[in-house]
């Protein structure tokens, strides 16, 4: 395989349409006769619905319908769990519209459909709902008492519970010279892609076929669920993926609206469009990261880690969503991180409260576990008087120990095995880049009104979630090569990276390749994009399909030329004799296309220069890295200024360093924002207080520091032909830990503990005030 494109910083081919306003996001798609929907959402956190009166709403000119549970009852059923279906969670599922009760502010109660969105919102104002307000439970501690029950029929708010157990934890704590116990709280926040959710559904009643624009991230999986809800065969449902304005884990649930909008289109006989507004988004799209953890670590006096045990509580909200218990389960699964900790025990609890449901957000559970573990390590280091970097180097798993079998850390799954990696190298490179040797001297020092601190965090992340991905490569006349891949785009650049892989594997110029993704019609199966699986799963599927096409090309060319295929090679879109670099090509790829036709006598294989391939994997491959930050804290205002941020990431093999660099800078910036600014705050009675961008604060250009990203390729994956590992989510997961450690380091003289996030001005001042 020639390597012209893989590993090169190829500029993205999809950019032109975004730069000229020619892109097509779902709200840019317009079809004739389109109606607009608006969702009536509960304004109470916990209430019984006594009545819903729609007469006034229906009387408004331009309002076409108001849909309530009665209208969907014959089709309605709970939205199923697609992953992390811990036993017990299935009792807490959500129907697409509230039945007799609402359990979180923002829960859909009705759908108004009108000629314009403006009129649909007028209809919402005119729908008269009578609630019997119930007390709301808004904290995990309170919910555990089971006094206010979110789902009374289940008699408890503890939806699921299980324990992970590796090694002999009792012995570890008995043998330890030193133990430390702390409580940690990771704050509830969310991804806020700049484009909110949106759907446009159109039903052809003549053919009984439904087309939906807008579903993304896991279109095949969601189509299957929708098919089962509507009793409409999957093949009659066409999902079309337009351009998508970011994901970050927020898209891809099967949300209530994913049923409601297609339902409305079918019921009303006209296309229905629904574009979520930002206020809705903040209260209805996935919330995440809300975990509370009691953690205890055991070590020898010299800093050797012996054991880690924890009790983890996930605040799941009012209903369990399609990703089940992913947040607390994933927090537990990699809590030990890239370290050698012989004994590990973690009790995982999923607790229901009257808040929005907890779902995926970039690297679910791993931002949380990294924060908990890396804070603990810094506490150990401080208590035992060992340098934090030294402590980590001492305990990081060594390359000679690879593959490292951690054990079963996800309930009911195969053991977690770190396939390859040089964890100490990543740490050393990060320390070197920030100049740790010299910078150390400024730790805790007060300079020009600010305290300086350094924070370190090491992480490992599972990527390339299987079990399969599908790709198809097709060559047609006119030098047109199409790659179809079962991934979905959220903005990462698949149209470029998949083209790079195909170009190198097949041996053609990249300009001839177009990549198609996201539409369910392209491929029979697709895994979608999530869990950093794009390059690993999609990339390898494309690789396999392209290889197969190349094999076909050479077989057919050989048959035509009367040569043995193994004496031929495909380079730059031309068939050459192998080793005959300077001679003229024997055939062009375009010449081979008609030779592959169904009627051709030169083709001993299936007709057509195309191939579909599946890359299967039941093992994750582990990306890893280290972040280090230098901060300055103003003890009089609580302001945390990030002076420098270094992010080292090893992806095994990097397909496009320009794009990966972009993911790292973007992910770190996102994580810094989440750690310093973002917070979804509820009042005592379950009202979401942060429903606009005035109160939910996202990082802007003045918040983001200089970010230095280093991409390593020290440890290619042993689990796939390309040797790649995923790189997309892990870039933000260490930011909480890194900045928290840096702030604790800076304020060491105050003895602040930093066991909570975000690191807001107010919280930092409170810590300082308390310790003074």
């Amino acid at each position: 395989m020639t390597e012209t494109y893989i590993g090169a910083p190829i500029r993205r081919r999809e950019d032109v349409r975004f730069l000229t306003g020619m892109s097509k996001f779902v709200d840019d798609v317009k079809v004739p006769q389109m109606l607009h929907a608006a969702i009536l959402r509960s304004s109470h956190a916990h209430a019984r619905i006594k009545s819903i009166k729609t007469t006034n709403a229906l009387a408004i000119p331009g309002v076409v319908d108001v849909i309530t549970f009665e209208d969907i009852a014959h089709l309605a059923k709970p939205i199923p769990i697609r992953a992390y279906a811990l036993p017990g969670l299935e009792r807490y599922l959500q129907y697409p519209l509230a039945r007799e009760k609402v359990r979180y502010v923002g829960e859909p109660i009705a759908v108004a459909v009108a000629e314009t969105r403006y009129v649909a919102e007028d209809a919402l104002d005119a729908i008269d709902v009578t609630y019997e307000v119930l007390p709301a439970v808004v904290s995990v501690h309170e919910a555990l008492r089971d006094e206010v029950l979110v789902h009374e029929e289940n008699k408890t708010n503890l939806a699921a519970r299980y324990t992970i157990s590796i090694g002999d934890i009792e012995m570890a704590f008995r043998q330890a010279d030193y133990t430390r116990r702390e409580e940690f709280k990771v704050h509830r926040h969310t991804g806020n892609p700049l484009e909110t959710r949106g759907l446009l559904a159109s039903y052809d009643s003549g053919r009984g076929e439904l087309t939906v624009w807008g579903p993304t991230k896991v279109p095949h999986l969601n189509r299957a669920i929708l098919s089962s809800f509507l009793n409409l065969p999957e093949q009659k449902i066409h999902f079309i993926e337009p351009d998508v304005g970011g994901g970050f884990g927020i898209r891809g649930e099967f949300y209530p609206e994913d049923f409601l909008i297609p339902f409305a289109a079918i019921k009303l006989g006209r296309p229905v469009k629904w574009i979520e507004d930002r206020r809705e988004h903040l209260m209805a799209a996935n919330h995440s990261r809300d975990v509370w953890c009691e953690a205890e670590i055991a070590a020898r006096r010299d800093g050797t880690l012996l054991g880690l045990r924890a009790k983890l509580y996930g605040d799941m909200g009012g209903y369990i969503r399609t990703h089940g218990g992913i947040v607390p389960a994933s927090t537990a699964a990699l809590l030990p991180g890239p370290y050698r900790i012989p004994a590990f025990e973690c009790a995982v609890h999923c607790i229901m409260t009257n808040k929005t449901g907890l779902g995926t957000l970039r690297a679910p559970g791993r931002y949380e576990s990294c924060f908990i573990r890396e804070r603990l390590l810094d506490m150990v280091a401080a208590d035992l008087n060992i340098d934090p970097a030294e402590l980590r180097l001492k305990n990081l798993i060594q390359p000679t120990e690879m593959p490292y079998v951690l054990g079963v850390t996800r309930r009911g799954e195969s053991p977690t095995v770190f396939d390859s990696g040089d964890y100490p190298m990543a740490l050393k490179r990060a320390l070197e880049k920030i100049g740790y040797g010299e910078l150390r001297q400024r730790q805790g020092r007060y300079e020009e009104g600010k305290y300086h601190g350094i924070g370190i965090a090491c992480y490992v992340k599972n990527t390339g979630r299987g079990p399969f991905e599908c790709a198809r490569v097709e060559v047609r006349s006119g030098n047109s090569i199409a790659v179809y891949v079962g991934l979905a785009s959220l903005g990462q650049g698949h149209e470029t990276t998949m083209a790079q892989i195909c170009a190198d594997t097949l041996g053609v110029p990249i300009e001839q390749i177009t990549v198609f993704h996201g539409n369910t019609d392209y491929l029979p199966f697709g895994g979608g994009t999530n869990a950093s699986r794009g390059t690993v799963m999609g990339g390898n599927a494309v690789y396999l399909a392209a290889q197969e096409v190349k094999r076909k090309v050479l077989t057919i060319a050989g048959s035509y030329l009367g040569m043995v295929p193994s004496d031929l090679e495909l380079r730059d879109g031309q068939v050459h004799g192998k080793g005959a670099e300077t001679e003229k090509p024997l055939l062009s790829l375009e010449d081979v296309v008609p030779l592959a036709a169904p009627t051709s006598r030169f083709n001993p294989l299936e007709p057509g220069l195309d191939a579909t391939a599946y890359f299967k994997s039941d093992q994750m491959t582990y990306t890893y890295g280290t972040h280090v930050a230098h901060v300055a804290v103003d003890p009089e205002t609580g302001k945390v200024e990030v002076l420098r941020y270094v992010a080292v990431e090893d992806v095994g093999r990097c397909v496009n360093p320009l794009l990966l660099h972009g993911q790292i800078v973007g992910g770190v910036a996102q994580g810094i924002g989440a750690t310093l600014l973002e917070d979804l705050v509820y009042s005592e009675n379950g009202q979401l207080l942060t429903t606009t961008f005035m109160d939910y604060l996202l990082p802007t250009s003045t918040v983001v520091p200089p970010i230095e990203a280093i991409i390593l390729e020290e440890a290619p994956s042993t689990l796939n032909p390309l040797g790649v590992k995923g790189g997309g989510e892990e870039t933000s997961l260490a930011t909480g830990a890194t900045l928290a450690n840096a702030v604790a380091n800076a304020l060491a003289s105050f003895g602040v503990k930093v066991t909570e996030l975000p690191l807001s001005h107010n919280r930092v001042m409170e810590w300082i005030r308390r310790r003074k």
């Binding site: 007028d122 206020r279 205002t637 001005h761 409170e766």
Partner: protein, 293 residues
């Protein structure tokens, strides 16, 4: 988030506006720059039956120096116009320094001086600035015209002395004393945000003794707060570290700020003292420079 329906008027001159305000009273909202009102309307938190768009009133867009050195600014003057005004840059450094702190350029392109003042967000810079500068506001209705002192204008959370039938037409800023030392500083979670705590300080020295001081806090309560006790303490005192510390302490102790999502009352009390101290240092330094010249 689309606004609720409303009746819309875009009058051509002030008497027309006043007639409409007389007719509709508190059912109407005046739309100037829209940077504060439109978000509320889009969120349907404000649902005026009538919107009176005053953007055609070019007669209210002016920056006019008066004969005695005071400055008259038409209420509809865009914040960006004031920011770019050579006169303001030269003649009122505090105004020149405060305007860029207001949100972002795109907001200031449309936002007006009068709009910000009439909207009276307690965390906004311009209302506090007008109090610190002891500005006066000309307010007109179809029946009469009056002048309201800034110290009497801001009554509470987004509440002013403006009656429903009245329109703010002019802001008059007293002549800038070249001997003023000044400072404006705020703590916000991101640049351009509303302040968690903000301070504006003006003071005048005579032989390094404080002759007059103005200390106004914003972001700390329902309206800008003038810290008169601290100002009194400073009058006649030598401008040294002890006086500064004491003034800061009085501000911190006296203040009874609100708690909200972003900061607790304790935070605001403490940081108000810090910012006062820092601002006094800066203002005194400028005042000393000014007396040298």
């Amino acid at each position: 988030m689309k606004p609720a329906p409303f009746e819309y008027f875009a009058p051509e001159n002030v008497p027309e506006v006043l007639a409409l305000l007389e007719q509709y009273g508190d059912e109407a909202k005046v739309l100037a720059g829209g940077q504060s009102l439109m978000p509320l309307m889009n969120l349907r938190l404000a649902r005026p039956k009538v919107v009176i768009d005053i953007n055609r009133l070019s007669e209210l867009q002016y920056i006019a120096p008066g004969s005695n050195g005071d400055l008259a600014v038409g209420a509809l003057t865009r914040q960006r116009t004031v920011e770019r005004s050579d006169f303001v840059q030269r003649e009122n450094p505090l105004l020149a320094a405060t305007i860029p702190l207001v949100s972002h350029a795109q907001i200031r392109n449309r936002g007006t001086i009068g709009g910000s003042i009439a909207h009276a967000d307690p965390a906004a810079e311009l209302p506090a600035l007008s109090v610190a500068l002891e500005a006066e506001f000309t307010v007109r209705s179809s029946r009469n015209q009056r002048v309201i002192r800034s110290q009497d204008f801001f009554l509470g959370y987004m509440t002013t002395a403006l009656q429903p039938s009245e329109l703010l037409t002019e802001i008059r800023i007293p002549a800038w004393d070249p001997r003023w030392g000044w400072a404006v500083s705020e703590v916000s979670r991101r640049e351009g945000d509303f302040a968690l705590v903000g301070v504006i300080v003006l003071l005048r020295l005579d032989n390094d003794v404080c002759e007059k001081a103005g200390i106004v806090l914003f972001g700390v309560g329902a309206a800008p707060v003038r810290m008169r006790k601290a100002e009194e303490m400073l009058r006649g005192r030598r401008a040294d570290g002890k006086a500064i510390a004491e003034a800061a302490r009085i501000v911190s102790e006296d203040l009874e700020p609100d708690s909200d999502l972003h900061a607790s009352a304790e935070y605001r009390k403490e940081v108000a003292g810090t910012l006062t101290r820092r601002s006094l240092v800066e203002a005194i330094s400028r005042a000393r420079e000014a007396t040298k010249r």
